[in-house]
């Protein structure tokens, strides 16, 4: 009896330590079950898929749980428009959204696609925009918010290195057209609308070719 209660206490402490490390109270194991709704597009390993000419599905593996959760909340609330995601997200309650966000955040980041056909010119422009920006057009470097290696910074600025080129390009265009509008303080919108098609293609391709996790 006493042993049992000690075991439960230990388990509780373990669970709390796992979940609070990500700033989201959830259960990744339960999230794995919920993820059965997601795997058709986002794949069992969370790698998503780059689909040239179609709607690319973003890689979720290893992204910040708090960022993922906010996106789910926004899709459900209609502040992030996604006809593809909407029917699935509408099936989830708040706890399920937390669980599934936590689950994907704990998967090993996978490599992205979509940059294989990039020209040298595109790679040079993409690298410049991602790491140095173009201040003459007030395009700040991606890394100034998305962090070292563009691997994400905190809960608001997701990893974009190792994300599919098709997804990055589509999101930048969605900001330009006003279709996507859920970035805090419109920090992304401000930059996206200063970019031209050449910039978007170049930066999306270059980022997709970068490592999805820090070098060891």
């Amino acid at each position: 009896m006493r042993l049992k209660s000690q075991f439960i206490t230990a388990l509780t402490i373990l669970l709390i330590s796992i979940t609070s490390a990500h700033g989201i109270e959830g259960d990744a194991k339960a999230g794995e079950q919920t993820a059965s709704l997601c795997v058709a597009c986002h794949q069992a390993d969370g790698s998503g898929m780059n689909i040239p000419g179609g709607e690319s599905w973003p890689r979720l593996a290893g992204l910040d749980a708090r960022y993922l959760y906010k996106q789910l909340v926004d899709v459900q609330a209609g502040t992030r428009t996604s006809p593809t995601m909407m029917p699935f997200v509408n099936m989830l309650d708040e706890q399920q959204m937390k669980n599934v966000s936590l689950y994907y955040s704990q998967l090993e980041p996978t490599q992205a696609a979509g940059g294989e056909d990039a020209t040298d010119r595109q790679l040079a422009l993409g690298e410049k925009l991602a790491t140095e920006g173009d201040w003459d057009r007030y395009i700040v470097p991606c890394s100034s918010c998305h962090g070292p290696g563009n691997l994400g910074a905190g809960e608001h600025f997701p990893a974009i290195a190792g994300q599919h080129a098709g997804y990055i390009a589509a999101q930048l265009r969605a900001w330009q057209s006003g279709k996507r509008d859920n970035d805090p303080q419109h920090l992304m919108l401000a930059i996206a609308e200063r970019m031209n098609d050449e910039d978007i293609n170049a930066v999306a391709k270059w980022l997709s070719l970068q490592p999805a996790k820090p070098a060891r």
């Binding site: 201040w135 003459d136 070292p148 609308e193």
Partner: protein, 337 residues
Amino acid sequence: MDSLLKKRTLSLAVLAGIFSLGLHAETTGKRVPTNIPQPEKGQYVHVPPTMDDLEKSSMHPELKRVIRRGRDLFVNTQQLRGKNVFNDMNCNSCHMGEGRLPFSAPVWPAAVVLPNYRPKNDHVNNLEERIAGCFSYSMNGTPPEYGSDNMVALATYHQWLAKGVPVYQSGKTMYGRGYPKLPEPAEGMSYERGKQVYQENCSICHAEDGSGLRQNGEVVFPPVWGDASYNWGAGITRNFTLSSFVKHNMPLGQPNSLTDQQSWDVAYYINSHERPQDPRYTGDVKETRKKYLETFHKHTNYGLEVNGKLLGDHENLGGEKDFLKPDVLRARTYTAD
């Protein structure tokens, strides 16, 4: 002939400026315009060269290498952490856009107005001594030695950015120099209003407690107060300097989006928090404030009581730093021995 040529150069420079300093028509009509002030009539507009220009130039390869090294130190000054830098700042944190951006204290003017008399230390300073000031206060550290590889590389980068600018012309006519002082705040400065501005516009990156954000061991957003921020002797602790920096540069990517009043209020709020001790500290904060009042501290909150706390009344040097004043901060006399 001479003056005609000069005139043409100037108007070409102005045109080039409009099209290459983020001022072009493309940014108007956007949902988040940059609203960068246009050059005024008679202002000298300089567009500093870019790294692309450097690669294309016919300068000696060794000079190019040293300029690249200077730029690298400028944008990643954290590589001197623990040696010259004892906080989370980079040169680029305040002199944004690689030190080229107008209204973000672009660094090329320093290369053409110095050596000059500087009220802050009451003697004539050259470019290296000016850079040493940044290391001592804004980086809460100690400068690379005069004439050392790193110091020469930084100075060379500054000088190169000033390529083509006449030396010792009147600095007052330079477009986008420094952080131009905003009109006095109509409603004074308020801690409470500033706190609200901070929470709504700044805390997403710089954190509620001003500590900024580090990720994977690197600084992403610099701390704006606290142990890892600039010290009480840094120019940006002056409320008029910080308010103009904020107005013209923050939030990132959204310059000129806050009102003048909001910028003054948030500057006052930020500079009403603690930070590492002024290296010129005499051991008594009120005495130190008085000693440097006219040339500096009349614009700061150092040595003043805010919310019942006397700011700067401590011996805290900022965590890792184990000296108060770098040796290089000393008086000069320029007289024969």
